[in-house]
């Protein structure tokens, strides 16, 4: 360790009104190193990285780049030093195409002053995409891409800078295993070339798989920086939360839910042309039904069809034995179905409004008397959910945009829970949520189930599917290809069903 570090951030502090986001944090990255940054939702990871990118100015502290003190006042300054950033929230212009997004602000110049050399632009973009095995036409508007591919476009954008240090703030949260593998391969190649990477993720297995060292933050303070070699997951979690975590497996042991309970949601021969094929299953009262499958297996489409975002071409949906006639999501909500989608950013958080208003917005009519909203009741209600889900915020009066990424997601989940749905569909419910809060959300799901709610949980994390569900459906190519008992099935069994590999 006697080389000059590439980056040394020294005693960085940053306060927001009501929050000390960072308290004298030190952070060092060596050349050619992959440094993981770990901490609970709201620990200050993104804030530290935004300071490095010049988005925020620190209240105090010093940044050294290759041993020299530097001032980073804007993202442009950071770029000039050789720092490239993938922000936690996607930073893409939805209507612009992939190539324009990748090179926005750095377009190759054309012949006439002020013009753009489009041929080169698209060629270079094509190369960047190929580097990431991304089979996407660079002329596709970004909004037409699925979330995972949008995320990969972000990665391509960051790589195209040929930076010395690449910061990746939760790049994997919306990626599937296949894409994570490609990303990791690229990260290793960059490391070979001497590029340093800061990698933020809530998935410990990813951190163990890719990183050399880890820096852990808790409540805005540095807990420590350690090499990962010889470190255990438990030790990491202890550093992160400052205590042991309880068993997260919340399933009541050995109970057979189906035999004793009423069906709540029945799906019969449900099809959507080219997307879903003849889907049949029953969700029982108080059951958590896991839905596993690869990206593209049709899981999100299934959820959206039940929620009547899209009409099915065929088939029926029955709620408590009654055939539902749903035309739009509002009908589904009225019938008692709620859907927390995988893309929570797009799902209508009012970013400029307070946490309290965001949580209670779905049931304002219940909180109103003579047409006037009783804000005090709304705040009490919001506080209840904030406590239940462990949303880290100075108060329910805080604006949602000021919450950390993971905490914004908890607000979305809270918003849907206020509806007290009979059927709750959760698409990737713990994406981007820290290990401790994950357990809280699983506990909450279990509690809802014990009150009779039927829960359909789509998840790409196999340990979650196996650990939380009472029963598991596996989808492939728009069909349900297997049903499994999570007490007996293994991750391998699910993967085999999901990929269609022969069972040995």
């Amino acid at each position: 360790m006697n080389t000059t570090p590439l980056l040394h951030m020294s005693a960085i502090s940053k306060s927001f009104p009501g929050v000390k986001a960072l308290d004298r944090v030190d952070f060092t990255v060596q050349p050619g190193e992959i440094m993981a940054l770990l901490g609970e939702n709201g620990a200050g990871k993104s804030t530290l990285m935004r300071i490095l990118d010049g988005v925020f100015t620190p209240d105090s502290g010093q940044i050294f780049w290759r041993g020299q003190p530097v001032q980073i006042r804007s993202p442009q300054d950071a770029k000039n030093l050789g720092i490239s950033m993938i922000h936690q929230e996607l930073a893409l212009v939805p209507y612009l195409d992939v190539a324009k997004n990748i090179y926005l602000g750095r377009e190759p110049a054309g012949l006439l002053p002020g013009t753009i050399d489009w041929t080169t632009l698209y060629e270079q973009a094509h190369q960047q995409l190929a580097r990431l095995d991304l089979d996407v036409d660079p002329r596709t508007p970004v909004r037409d891409l699925p979330l995972a591919q949008q995320q990969m476009v972000e990665v391509a954008k960051a790589l195209s800078l040929s930076a010395q240090l690449i910061v990746m703030d939760e790049p994997t949260s919306s990626l599937s295993n296949a894409e994570v593998a490609v990303l990791f391969r690229t990260m290793r190649a960059l490391k070979e070339q001497g590029v340093s990477i800061v990698f933020i993720s809530h998935r410990l297995n990813e951190i163990f798989a890719i990183a050399d060292r880890v820096t852990v933050l808790r409540d805005g303070s540095l807990v420590g920086s350690e090499p990962l070699q010889g470190m255990t997951a438990d030790a990491l979690i202890r550093m992160m939360v400052g205590r042991e975590l309880g068993e997260t497996n919340q399933r009541p042991a050995g109970e057979d839910v189906q035999s004793q309970r009423q069906p709540i949601l029945e799906v019969r021969n449900l099809s959507r042309a080219g997307i879903l094929h003849d889907i049949n299953f029953t969700l029982y009262e108080g059951e958590i039904l896991g839905v596993a499958g690869l990206v593209g297996a049709g899981r999100t489409e299934l959820a959206e069809t039940i929620f009547s975002v899209h009409p099915p071409t065929q088939g029926d949906i029955l709620l408590r034995g009654q055939k539902l006639r749903l035309r739009r999501p509002a009908d589904a909500i009225r019938a008692g179905i709620a859907l927390v989608t995988e893309d929570r950013k797009g799902q209508g958080l009012f970013l400029r409004m307070e946490v309290g208003a965001n949580i209670s917005v779905r049931i304002l009519h219940q909180l109103a008397r003579f047409g006037l909203i009783r804000w005090r009741d709304s705040q009490h209600l919001a506080q209840e959910y904030v406590d239940k889900l462990g949303v880290r915020t100075p108060s329910v009066r805080q604006k949602v945009r000021n919450l950390s990424g993971g905490n914004q997601q908890k607000v979305v989940i809270a918003k849907w829970l206020t509806l007290k749905p009979q059927v709750l569909i959760l698409d990737e419910p713990t994406r981007g949520i820290d290990v401790g809060a994950k357990g809280e959300i699983h506990r909450l799901m279990r509690e809802l189930a014990s009150q009779g709610v039927g829960i359909l949980m789509i998840s790409s994390e196999l340990p979650e599917v196996l650990g939380v569900s009472d029963r598991v459906l596996v989808m492939r190519g728009g069909r349900v290809v297997a049903e499994m008992n999570p007490r007996l099935a293994t991750q391998d069994d699910i993967m085999r069903a999901a990929t269609g590999a022969k069972t040995s």
Binding site: A91, V93, Y95, L104, E107, D144, A148, E342
Partner: protein, 323 residues
Amino acid sequence: MSLSLSRLFRRSTVFIFLLVLVVFFSLTTNRFLVGQNLTNILVQNSHVILTAVGMTLVMLSGGIDLSVGSVAALCGALSAGLVARNGLPAEIAIVLGLVAGFGLGLVNGGLVVYGKLPPFVATLSMLGVARGLTLAYTNSRPISNLGDAYNFWGRGDVLGVPMPLIVWVTVVVLMTYLLSQTRFGLYVYAIGGSEETARLASVPVNRVKMVTYGLSGTLAALAGVLLTARVYSAQPQAAVGLELQAITAAVLGGVSLFGGVGNIPTAVFGALLVGVLGNGMNHLRVASYPQQIIQGVVLVLAVAIDMATQRIGGHKSKRGSSS
């Protein structure tokens, strides 16, 4: 599939509307579908087209410019006054008028970018101020005796092609090039799509926005000059309500009120649609108050369609086909 359909619809609404109107007026009046009248439509609506182009620039970047009517009147009057009162050559007076329009646009931009005022508020105040200045400068009386060199811009022709037509076609070509081929154009779309993202990508957001307002002001001034030249005099109440026509034209042409979507050529068709509507109603002898009502209704319809397709499109964007 429904995605491309909704887009196609969005892009072609204006053409469908235009066709329907043309057919309707051809059937209900006998003077509509005449070569002379069609040329009239192209010439008489030059000011709407020019301001619609400026409006498109501003709206694409996520703003709006309500001051175009007043700015057109003020700059038209100014250039006319410089000729009639100060005896300046027409060309110089016109250029000074355009410079004034650019300056007023920059003031709008400065209030929005640096004053952090909502575009609606900033340009609404400019609407009031510029109209007031027009009344003061003209003493609420028309300025006439502008001379042939000035009137040429509204009444003259080159090889039989009317000047106003030449002017706006040139502007449309230039601005379309600017918007589709240059860095500036890309930045306008990027800022309208997501200002925050544009900032992170170190796009000079403030400067680009200033320029869009500046251009809108310049084009409004040009519109004012053409209008003045066409009626041989600067009227203190010229171009009242032009902002409504320009916004209607842009929105009819598929420019989103939320920024980031749209282009100049279809906005021009939007302006022609507005023009055809007015021209046809004149032929049907609809009085001017009902005409204004109908124009208002058309704007509401256009916005409703904008929001509806926005919703359809918005849905798709979130859908993705993952998992």
